[in-house]
């Protein structure tokens, strides 16, 4: 009984979504399936050369091969795991951390707010490259380290937006009355602020996904991740780094397919957030 | 013809529909009224009844709404005008002082800029002429010039209202629409506003359209009144007349529940429709109307003239008269042959759904009249009509939905040898209405209505073991079991102690308010009368000398006797 009313209300909600929204959901499902079943659906191994280098798509290698003769499709399938993981983890974590710090600073105000805002100013003006190299030498290579470093650089944007929003929400009557009942900052955040902030945070999260996937490549080079992990960022980076990639027509598969994978993911996420936004805020 | 040029604004079956994604909301349905030059129109009604939508559609200010029907202003139909023609009329001929909130003004522009804007649009004045004009406007609404270059968020509620007024008067419009001008104002600033508006009206001669649910200001500023319910005009006419004698059950309910008019009366709103979906066709007030009947569901009632320039939209022609008595006389022959004229020529009208108090000193013939009306005593002369049918051999009291009477003395009202259930279901037994189970069920129903226990043991108790208050409640229950349309209560609480009396009266009023029957409440206690009744009749030695709405009779009685009576209210027996 419980099941069908859950599915009913999901179905009810879904009906209101635009076609692009539904199509994007389908794509996200597809990505997850590909990521999970990568070993089974990729005919060739992703890290052993299985064909002559740089053959155009055709026959068994329907996405062609890269300069070392690795099959591109299996690389993208394996890469999906890492890119999706990093993309989602980074955006979720930095949105959470950003909103917590942002709402604390917006809600508490006073010197805490000043302290956090100045910290944000410092974080924004610190140049990324040297800090990455520094962290790489201390942290060493692992997936979590990449996420940590990416989060360090991306939480400030969300914090700033959330702080502004919370400062407006703080004076709403329903918040002041909740406070009279002795509601704690955590309660207010959970019950009132987050619901209000959800659309803004969702858009931010989507934008971060694409940035994280592309940034992961450079981080892996500098020693934070596994440089042979074949994430989409890495494939794209090797392709763009190949000398003469634009003069020959290798880019037609070596650059196009990974870039397509990234932007298709991001575009469908963008449509999903737009529909969520519409549900949360009818007049948009 | 002269009426045409005199008529300033004519609205012909205007209807407004809002579209939210899929469903369509009907905000106003074919409202029709017209407004002449020297008249000021008031529009009252519950919030959400469509008054704002009606007014806003006059200047086509509604977003994602379809408006059809005609709005004739100076011979042109505003709705058919092009945007540019409409812009010539907006604010120049018709302007609006919006509901008082800071949202209505642009937060980033100074007040002066927002006022000058409209003047610049409609008149081309030089800059210092403009400055002079704005200063003049500030002066007439009683504001200091220092506030000119301030921003909306820096103003108090009262000041904001004056600014909105100044802005509305900027282009000295022909029609000034005021949307809930006094909502957030205290009494003092409300009076200032009313005085100011009156002065301005004399000076500029604009016609006012006032939307409000504050009857004081409606009373003070408007000559014509329109009452709206659920998007429809259900009553329109002269303001004074409507307030004194509302003809539509909704209007009466609306007026009765406003503390401005009935200053001492307990607060009782119109019963809510319990969220039941409104009937598609038929009167939308059906579920809340005390005198609803099948006919009300047949079709949508349209406005018809019921009294001189009074229109009502009700299948039953407005509030029914439940009982009419004409020229009732009654004499008693005492032993020493002296004739006591208990009643000599009493005329009384009881309308459906109202609480009427019959007040008078003891011995003024109140009880006798009650008994004659109820048919327990035969009057010597005069006729009594129940729903316009003369009452003979009390047909009116032995039917469902008829008339019932409850006597003063609770003890004699119930036979102490009968059990509670028998006493209460006696009327049904007599008229052999349906079967025993139904009657028992009805007993339980009415007993719960009067907050009496309904356990089996209590039902079979004998009445002698009950207290006076309980016996009186039984009497009421017995009267209510037949769902009467008129209940005559003859001094029913005088025997009760104040606390039981208070609870008892509150319950009676609650039941009356919910089921909608008319209550004739006979008492000598003016305080009680003022507390629960809508209208009052004053009796003195067998004649009704004065009658009318409570606030009229109690606040400025005409007859000396009544004035004397009213003084007793202020009397403080402790002689302080």
């Amino acid at each position: 009984m419980v099941l069908n009313n859950i599915s009913a209300n999901i179905e009810k909600r879904l009906r209101k979504w635009s076609i692009q929204g539904k199509f994007s959901l389908f794509i996200i499902m597809l990505y997850i399936i590909v990521a999970v079943f990568a070993p089974y659906i990729s005919i060739y191994p992703h890290d052993i050369s299985s064909a002559p280098p740089l053959i155009p798509p055709g026959g068994k290698h329907f996405m062609g091969t890269d300069e070392l003769g690795y099959d591109l499709w299996s690389q993208i399938a394996y890469g999906a795991r890492i890119s999706l993981l990093i993309g989602s983890l980074t955006s979720i974590l930095s949105v959470i951390i950003g909103s917590i710090i942002g709402s604390l600073s917006g809600y508490l105000g006073g010197w805490i707010d000043k302290l956090i805002m100045r910290l944000v100013d410092i974080m924004i003006s610190i140049p990324e490259l040297p800090l990455i190299i520094l962290l790489a030498t201390f942290l060493g290579p692992s997936l979590i380290n990449i996420v940590i470093v990416l989060v360090i650089f991306s939480w400030t944007r969300t914090a700033r937006i959330v702080r502004a929003q919370v400062m407006v929400l703080k004076n709403m009557n329903y918040v002041t009355s909740a406070r009279t009942y002795g509601a704690s900052a955590g309660y207010l955040l959970r019950v009132h602020f987050l619901k209000e902030l959800f659309p803004v945070l969702a858009i931010n999260a989507v934008r971060l996904v694409s940035k994280a996937i592309i940034a992961e490549a450079s981080l892996s080079f500098l020693g934070l991740g596994d440089p042979t992990s074949k994430s989409w960022g890495l494939i794209l980076n090797h392709a763009l780094g190949f000398s003469g990639i634009y003069h020959t027509d290798f880019w037609k598969w070596w650059v196009v397919f990974p870039w397509l994978a990234i932007s298709l993911l991001v575009i469908s996420l963008a449509f999903i957030t737009r529909d969520i936004e519409k549900l949360c805020d009818p007049n948009l | 013809m002269n009426s045409v040029n005199k008529s300033l604004l004519k609205i012909e079956n205007l209807s407004v529909q809002y579209r939210h994604d899929s469903e369509v909301v009907q905000a106003v349905s074919n409202a029709t009224f017209d407004l002449n030059r020297n008249e000021d129109l008031g529009i009252i009604g519950e919030s959400g009844c469509g008054k704002s939508s009606l007014v806003m559609s006059i200047l086509k200010l509604l977003k994602n709404a379809t408006v059809n029907g005609k709005i004739i202003f100076k011979g042109e139909d505003i709705l058919a005008l092009s945007e540019s023609d409409l812009n010539r009329i907006r604010w120049k001929d018709i302007s609006i002082a919006f509901q008082n909130s800071v949202e209505v003004l642009n937060p980033v522009l100074t007040i002066e800029a927002q006022i000058c804007e409209s003047i610049k649009k409609h008149y081309n004045l030089s800059t210092n002429e403009l400055k002079k004009k704005v200063r003049y406007l500030y002066e007439i609404v009683g504001l200091d010039n220092i506030w000119l270059d301030s921003y909306p968020h820096q103003l108090s509620g009262g000041m904001l209202q004056r600014i909105l007024l100044a802005m509305a008067l900027a282009c000295n419009p022909k029609i000034l629409i005021l949307d809930e001008p006094t909502t957030s104002l205290d009494a003092l600033s409300k009076n200032d506003l009313v005085e100011m508006l009156k002065k301005l009206k004399q000076r500029f001669g604009f016609t006012i359209i006032l939307i409000s649910h504050d009857l004081d200001i409606i009373n003070a500023l408007t000559t014509k009144l329109v009452v709206m319910y659920n998007g429809r005009i259900i009553e329109s006419g002269i303001t004074k007349e409507i307030i004194d004698n509302p003809c539509h059950t909704y209007t009466r309910g609306f007026l009765n529940s406003s503390p401005q008019l009935y200053k001492y009366k307990d607060l009782w709103g119109i019963t809510s429709d319990l969220g039941l979906t409104l009937p598609e066709k038929g009167c939308s007030f059906y579920y809340r109307c005390p005198q609803r009947a099948e006919i009300c569901l047949t079709s949508v009632p349209y406005l018809q003239e019921v009294l001189p320039n009074r229109l009502i939209a009700c299948h039953k022609g407005g509030i029914e008269t439940v009982l009419r008595a004409e020229n009732v006389k009654k004499h008693y022959m005492l032993k020493n042959k002296t004739i006591v004229k208990a009643l000599n020529g009493v005329d009384i009208i009881l309308k459906s759904g109202e609480v009427v108090a019959l007040v008078g000193e003891s011995g003024s013939g109140k009880s006798t009249l009650a008994h004659i009306l109820a048919g327990t005593i035969k009057g010597d002369e005069g006729k009594v009509y129940f729903f316009n049918k003369e009452t003979k051999n009390n047909w009116a009291t032995k039917m469902i939905g008829g008339m019932q009477i409850v006597f003063q003395d609770p003890i004699s009202a119930t036979n102490h040898r009968m059990t509670v259930v028998d006493v209460v279901k006696e009327p049904l037994d007599i008229i052999k209405y349906k079967d025993q189970d139904y009657r028992k069920e009805r007993v339980i129903e009415v007993l719960t209505m009067v907050h009496m226990p309904v356990s089996e043991s209590f039902l079979n108790r004998y009445c002698y073991s009950l207290s006076g208050g309980q016996r009186q409640r039984l009497a009421i229950a017995k009267a209510l079991i037949t769902k009467p349309r008129l209940l005559i209560a003859d001094e029913i609480t005088s025997m009760l102690d104040p606390s039981t009396q208070a609870n008892f009266l509150r319950e009676v009023k609650k039941i009356q308010n919910e089921s909608g029957f008319t209550l004739l409440y006979i008492t000598h206690d003016l305080h009680l009368a003022r507390k629960i009744s809508d209208r009052v009749y004053i009796m003195q030695s067998g004649k009704i000398i004065e009658g009318g709405p409570v606030f009229k009779i109690f606040d400025n009685p005409k007859y000396p006797y009544t004035q004397k009576l009213m003084k007793t209210l202020e009397l403080n027996l402790s002689g302080v």
Partner: protein
Amino acid sequence: MIIVNRFLEYLLTFIIIISLNFFLPRALPGDPLIQLTADTYDGVLKMTEEQRIYFRDYYNLNLPMHEQYFHYLRNLLRLDLGKSIIYNMPVAEIILKKLHWTSFLVLSSIFITTIFGSILGAISAYFRNRPLDRVIYTKMIVLSEIPAFILGLIFLFVFAARLKLFPLYGAYSYYHDHLNTFQHFKDIIHHAVLPVISLSMARIGSIYFLARNSVVSVMGKKYITTATAKGLTKQRIIVKHALRNAMLPVVTRVFLSIGALIGGTILVENVFAYPGLGMLMQEAVSTRDYPLIQGIFLIVTLLTLSANLIADLVYKKLDPRFS
């Protein structure tokens, strides 16, 4: 009073950032002079041990850390940013000469993104949920996901190389004498078109979405109904009332995004060999050129902090509710 302690706050932050700028590069593994002579790529510098010591003292890299720090602060006060190790030129000179090209790109792309982003946002808000809005909306989503440098590469190959509409590289045609400054001006614009457009295309998405949401919410406000009731024309209402209020969030977002824009410009400058700060940052870090790293990051910090400050001031000026 508020302005003063606001200024103190920013000063304190600035000092912290300057110290970070000093310690961060030095914490990186590797030493500038050794790095340059590791014979790992073509045409690498030959430097004898004796020379390395001479230049180590010349750049006083031999002093203990705290002494170097005081040297750095003292020179900073005298606005002397020291000499770049790889360019062998005063850092201030390098940066100032290249900064105005980068700021030219950044400012013009800000100009374009704000103007077109807001106009497109207003249009699509005005025709909300009608076909035009849906078309613009989807285009914007797709467009704003393409990184600036990929767009740059596409433009370089299509418009510059194949169609020869625009020059292939540089900020102006080198060593080509023009008749007058107007000619020269035109030439600069001609060279700047592709970099600015690829930068703006990547940024316009975020401004568009913000403007669209903001205009939609403003159009719903009550003072817009008041304005219509006053009989004002549609255009006047949009310009005087709607846009003024809708622009508030857009303006602050624009100033706040200056920091991110500089990052984006680096890659685009590299694609078009535009003589801005461009790859200077990457080069300085990979060769551990401490003075150059400190100089560039100082300038970037100054730009970001002043952008924040301007954002605050402008917002206060525009929205009376906050001043």
